[in-house]
Point group: D2
């Protein structure tokens, strides 16, 4: 990567007034810095905007920097565009702090300047590859930044499934499904399933059962290099679905399997210098000095 950045793409729901407000400030600022601003050709931006419209699928190739404006969902969307090209991502949140979009609106211009000039901290995060293997030979694959989730589709039914780590049998589970989460995803769905918080640079994956029938069926932390396999067992009325970062990959029937392993690709997040993960965590989980109450 060479600095200063010359080609920068913006990603976001531009129809959202708060996002539009940031974009209206950001585009002239980038242009004044000599940066060409790319947006997807179907972006809902006013006619006068000094931007270059390109097919969304080419953003990963063309941009040297992607700025995602919105919430963590927007940043994950942008990450899918650049995953195979290793373009760094800067996440501007539109009001509420996110785990990934950690630049507050008031710090936006200073951080963007730092990103353009190469003064940000680079934070490389690995991706997971989820692969759904049907018993009839079909496969479907997707990358996941946060988690790969196998879950029942029919309310009132449990799934029976077996888990394997590097081809070794681990357990037979009954319950609502299983979350296979990266360190970064540990504070998303896996946390709601009783999983631990994982410092985002620890090289592990969390395999957390969802509402397990057996109370000793607890989350397991394994090396990130592990090939995690889940096989769906026969049971009446079984319907299950797999989602990667919340996007549906496909359905499973008994006999089908899900495999999750490390992807070759990774993404690079940019943070303002002085970025502190634990401050983010305290803010998101409402921790901290003020929470003490001595009634007990």
């Amino acid at each position: 990567m060479s600095f200063p950045v010359r080609l920068c793409a913006l990603v976001g729901r531009f129809a959202d007034p708060r996002v539009a407000e940031s974009v209206a400030v950001l585009v002239p600022h980038l242009v004044s810095r000599g940066v060409t601003v790319l947006v997807s050709d179907d972006a809902q931006l006013g006619a006068g905007a000094a931007v270059k419209r390109v097919p969304e699928s080419t953003i990963g190739q063309k941009a040297e920097l992607v700025i995602a404006i919105g919430g963590d969902g927007t940043l994950l969307y942008a990450a899918r565009l650049v995953a195979r090209h290793d373009v760094p991502l800067l996440g501007i949140n539109r009001g509420r702090l996110g785990f990934l979009t950690d630049v507050m609106p008031q710090d936006m211009l200073a951080c963007v300047d730092a990103a353009i000039e190469g003064r940000c901290e680079q934070d490389r995060r690995p991706l997971m590859a989820g692969c759904l293997r049907s018993a009839d030979g079909r496969t479907a694959e997707a990358l996941a930044r946060l988690d790969v989730v196998l879950q029942k589709l029919a309310t009132g039914r449990m799934l029976d499934f077996e888990t394997f780590m590097d081809n070794r049998y681990v357990n037979t589970h009954a319950g609502d499904g299983v979350v296979i989460s990266s360190a970064t995803g540990s504070t998303a769905y896996a946390l709601s399933c009783g999983g631990p918080i994982v410092e985002p640079h620890v090289g592990v994956v969390v395999v957390a059962p969802i509402c397990p029938h057996t109370l000793s069926d607890r989350p397991i932390v394994v090396p990130a290099s592990t090939l995690v396999e889940v096989r769906l067992l026969e049971r009446p009325d079984t319907r299950a679905q797999v989602a990667c970062d919340g996007a549906v990959l496909g359905e499973l029937v008994p006999g089908d399997a899900l495999e999750v392993k490390p992807a070759r690709e990774s993404i690079t997040l940019l943070h303002p210098s002085g970025h502190d993960y634990y401050r983010l965590l305290r803010s998101k989980l409402r921790w901290g000095r003020g929470s003490l109450d001595h009634s007990r």
Copy 2:
């Protein structure tokens, strides 16, 4: 109820060899005691069986006693047939102890004799009434013995919903849904959601969020008389479903509501004398003296 019982219905999956085996012993035994045996007219029983076939929907009216052979699912099925008629239920399990089908095969004949002669303990359990109220005015209702569950249908999406107790606002939740469980249902799905075990004769309902987004969103125990209401809030791609004891009652969209309140009906379980709930609990949860391990 007058004794000895003259009309007894059998309910179960008769095609299951283990169930068939019990039935083959049970029918002649009942006949030898002067009892007329009723089964549903579509029951898969051999031609020679000395049973009287009646429409399943009339079993509740005609039988003085219903014997369910199978697991807890079978007993719940039988409970639906008799809920409006207060016919007592005896549950024979087909091998593995259930919370409701607590008569072991080897004790079957002695317990059946006790039930016929009125020597069993009667264990009355209240029912809940679940009612789905669509914003467009339609309603759907069902009784629940264990739980009424509101749950998302789309993997990777959360539900936003509000809860009310007796028309008082309680909380706004984000997560996979909510279980409204009777005391009896506390050891079923609600337990997998972090709910407590409730002694089955305590007059309470447990409202347990499923995989809640907020970690302080914990199960709440309220009086069984409470009108519990859940209102689904607007959110992109929201799809939710309600099930009573695992049977689907219907789907919800934002604006729809679920109400759960005590039903007028109840069911009566029969237990052999000396029945001990805590022994059942120890067996099902694998508790007990043998579990101690002093490695810590």
Copy 3:
């Protein structure tokens, strides 16, 4: 109880400046309403205060109303003074909302007037009686408003103990101890041990193991009328202690037992009209509409 109240006692840590500030406003106000103000004879109040000093042990007999100023701990202290006399309690918090001290400083004078004139909601809460029975025949007893806790004293050692409900064996536990909590106490220590939130007027007790060795050893909800017994088993280096509402009742050695049952006594809390338990809960657990975050 007759109104208006003529004799009102104040309880609190008067040396705390925030408490002193409230008292400095409260005493003249009460006097202006014709109320005689009682305080304990060792209360740290300025010489000029228009109060009558009495032995603390006589407050329960003499006062018609007790106002506790401070946190929930102060209210529990006051409750001990009046438990055998059923004098109503009004809790003024000194800044931070409590589950029991739910009157905010700015509403103090209006609420005190309402209490004097009998316009408050009366909220009767049962008490539990904890009794420690040593194997050598000694006993020690205390009342508990929130919980009775049996806990290990030596770090690195587990306790082995058995639980009984109404003399029926329930389970053998290994772990750090057990909390026997009233409905009111459910949001105190029992909540930290994985117990449910219990609406405070539900007539139940929660028996919640503390850090149990066995993962299926979950909190149990039983009727408030239950005699709960805990027997300490033999194990090397066993040291255990019992506390009622945080106050130590005594130590146990293997062979000793703890009994908890409903007390004859109860306490009466006064609330301003329009009091809403769920609003309190939302505030204390930081719930509510603002907590939603759609990053997932």
Copy 4:
């Protein structure tokens, strides 16, 4: 390490009849293989045993192999004797499978032969160093294989403490204390505190709060290289204690701190070939195919 082993030490509670029984078989077997058997000079072994008695403190220096007979507690005791000398450990359990003593009595002689001849799998496990730093300058240190635990000593009192990772402030906690657990220790006390299961070769430490006052105060997984620091805050009646693998290291008062970091030392466990961690886990947590129950 050279094979075959010539000097092997036995460690265990020889007064326990089950241990004595194993030793009575093991000693002649080792001698017949040309191995000199060392025991501690205060070992309670019969006069005729063909063993060499040495001071316990010299076992680490002299032995080429240590066989621990008993439970995981015995193996941890043996680990302390050899930690600074990297002598491999073989754990024979005396009836009940342990996480560390995974050789069943019936397989003892075959495994011992494999260990002598160098045919066992070597399983290196890191150790943690716990250091208690008093505000007055004193320090106390110990190694821990499973966990370092900071815990309150007085029932009914909470601790207030702050945590730091590599000198960065993480959170302020109120509760019963905190467990700092190695991967191996994740299935011991940390699991009872809601921590995850960690595959034993993952290079992480779990920092799990004990009965935290705040429900979002969840276990955190950090790299094993992290310097974890816990500082005790001022609070009335604070009494806290630190234990390493269950052995008390000392007491803390407000102002004191606990530091945990990776130790230079490690231990080497020997396993029979074909050792499977997940089989051990299934056995210890009572998982597996047989646990399914389709009542839900």
